[in-house]
């Protein structure tokens, strides 16, 4: 059955700071960057920042897991007089796409009119990938941390190896994902890594957690991105062509909940990106299928998780990701499903999923740097991370 809130809300404004290699955004502060992104999104939408009355965060409203972002601070910072909705999806980057659904929930229930979602990241104090060994783990993580699986990349490497074992998936496929993504960043002024990448360079990169090498890991960057969601009614009177929230889901199964902890899940979840239940709901809610999607913006913190999301969402069958990717299917301009046309988190910038939402909006407005012709539907996913995981289908006005 069609989702009853389909196309009832729209993303009407997006704002962003420049993206900085990790630690080089100083002396800017994280609040200044977040504020610039919010003001940029308001200007893009053609609204005054004082019209914002809702906040819909993800990642527990933390800024990159180390800083805290708080609505009262944003209200003081930008002069927002009153809010009628302020909430967050739980856990981490898994909710980045799902935050648009939280904003939708606020709007269709009449709790807010202009809802902002913002993420800012400044990694000078501690790096997300290596928060290890400083303090003793809690009793549950005492069954994980002593093994030296020090960060998300190490955990994902174990998943990737199981996928390779079950299906014969190769590092050549990971290389193709990294190279195809890099190619999309070459002509983007916003991208941090713009030099074309050869297969030789990929295979010469140091191994971090074999089967993953350094180039399979996403960038470490600073910056901020914000977007504004409102009702489709209001969107019609605003500055930009509306980009409708056509479907949105967050959640996930108990099995996948183990993927960032004690790895106890069966093969079906273990060798996956945990997005299958989200995919099922999105296809069911929208009546669409993978062939209807014009551009896929898949959360790429680690290259194998792009391959596994292609399988989870049904762009290819489970176990066929290797051949699918190596066929050139994800290449912009020539492939059947262009993936991460903005250069993704592997090559443009890592702002915990927000660059994917930004690119989805630009593609459907027709203003993307690597524009997909006549793009009507974009799939945006949140991180294959701790629950919730999430997905979003955006629709542009044709």
């Amino acid at each position: 059955m069609t989702w009853e809130h389909q196309d009832k809300t729209a993303i009407v404004g997006v704002g962003a700071t420049p993206y900085y290699p990790r630690g080089t955004s100083e002396p800017r502060t994280i609040y200044e960057m977040a504020g610039d992104a919010i003001l940029g999104a308001c200007e893009d939408a053609g609204i005054n920042v004082k019209q914002i009355d809702g906040f819909a965060y993800y990642s527990g409203a933390t800024a990159g897991y180390t800083d805290k972002m708080d609505t009262a601070d944003f209200m003081e910072l930008l002069g927002i007089p009153e809010v009628t909705f302020t909430a967050s999806l739980t856990s981490g980057g898994g909710g980045s796409a799902g935050a648009a659904g939280l904003a939708t929930a606020a709007i269709v229930s009449g709790q807010a009119t202009y809802v902002v979602t913002v993420m800012a990241l400044q990694q000078s104090k501690s790096r997300l990938g290596t928060v290890f060994g400083q303090i003793a783990p809690d009793p549950i993580n005492s069954f994980l941390q002593p093994s030296g699986l020090v960060g998300p990349g190490h955990l994902m490497s174990v998943l990737a190896r199981r996928h390779m074992h079950l299906y014969g998936t190769s590092r050549d496929a990971f290389a193709e994902i990294v190279m195809a993504t890099r190619e999309n960043a070459v002509n983007r002024p916003t991208a941090v890594r713009r030099n074309p990448l050869t297969k030789e360079e990929y295979f010469n990169a140091p191994m971090i957690a074999d089967p993953l090498c350094r180039l399979d890991f996403c960038l470490e960057t600073d910056g901020a991105v914000a977007f504004i969601t409102t009702s489709s009614e209001r969107a019609k009177d605003l500055k930009q062509k509306p980009v409708y929230i056509h479907g949105c889901a967050h959640g996930g199964t108990r099995d996948w909940g183990r993927a960032f902890a004690w790895m106890g899940m069966p093969d079906e979840a273990f060798a996956s990106a945990g997005n299958k239940p989200i995919a099922n709901r999105l296809w069911n809610d929208t009546g669409l299928s993978p062939k209807d999607i014009d551009v896929a913006l898949l959360y790429d913190h680690f290259s194998p998780m792009v391959l596994m999301q292609l399988e989870d969402y049904g762009f290819c069958e489970r176990g066929e990701g290797d051949a699918f990717v190596k066929s050139g299917a994800i290449r912009y301009g020539t492939g059947s499903i262009p993936v991460n046309t903005h250069g993704g988190q592997l090559s443009e910038a890592y702002i915990i999923g927000m660059t994917h939402v930004r690119e989805g909006v630009e593609q459907l407005r027709g203003t993307a740097v690597n524009q997909v012709d006549d793009a009507e539907f974009a799939l945006v996913t949140g991180g294959p991370a701790s629950l919730p995981v999430s997905g979003l289908i955006l629709r542009g006005d044709k």
Binding site: T130, F132, G133, I135, A136, P137, D138, P139, I140, S142, F143, L144, P146, S147, G148, L149, V150, H154, S157, V158, L159, R161, R162, H165, P206, M207, I208, A209, D210, P211, L212, R254, W262, M263, G264, F270
Partner: protein, 142 residues
């Protein structure tokens, strides 16, 4: 060449904590006995130990002594100490624990040539001292 074999992380840097529900595992480890959390009502295993059996919600727990062997389910090969960044070959592994169906342990494979490690391989437990007199199970060639 012993230089090419996988090592342990430095035990004097490895910390754990326990609670009422998990300490049974670590107490057995001090006796060099591998166990896993078993529901005393329905017999199902779960790891790490948590207060409720997720299948029947019982809080009763057994700590049976297991054979001390396991099967490699998946693994990573790492080359740098996460503590110091120095060169250190270590192999974190996810293991199916023999005698405890459904329970996995995330541990380390020690004394292996990384090129010889395979999913499905049998390994056996060994014991390794860490901080505060705790003992950590690691796995060596069977």
């Amino acid at each position: 060449m012993s230089d090419n074999l996988s090592k342990m992380l430095p035990g004097d840097r490895i910390k754990i904590t326990t609670d009422t529900c998990t300490v049974g595992f670590w107490d057995k480890a001090k006796e060099h006995k591998l166990t896993a959390c078993q529901c005393a009502s329905c017999g199902r295993f779960r790891m790490p130990p948590r207060p409720f059996c997720p299948d029947c919600q019982s809080k009763e727990i057994n700590w049976p002594e297991l054979p001390g062997t396991a099967t490699v389910y998946s693994f990573a090969v790492c080359h740098k100490s996460p503590f110091s960044g120095e060169e250190l070959l270590y192999i974190p592994a996810v293991l199916d624990i023999d005698g405890a169906p459904g329970a996995r342990l995330t541990s380390n494979l020690v004394g292996f040539d990384p090129d010889q490690v395979e999913i499905g391989m049998k390994v056996k437990v060994d014991w390794y001292s860490i901080t505060e007199d705790w003992v950590l199970p690691v796995f060596v060639p069977a």
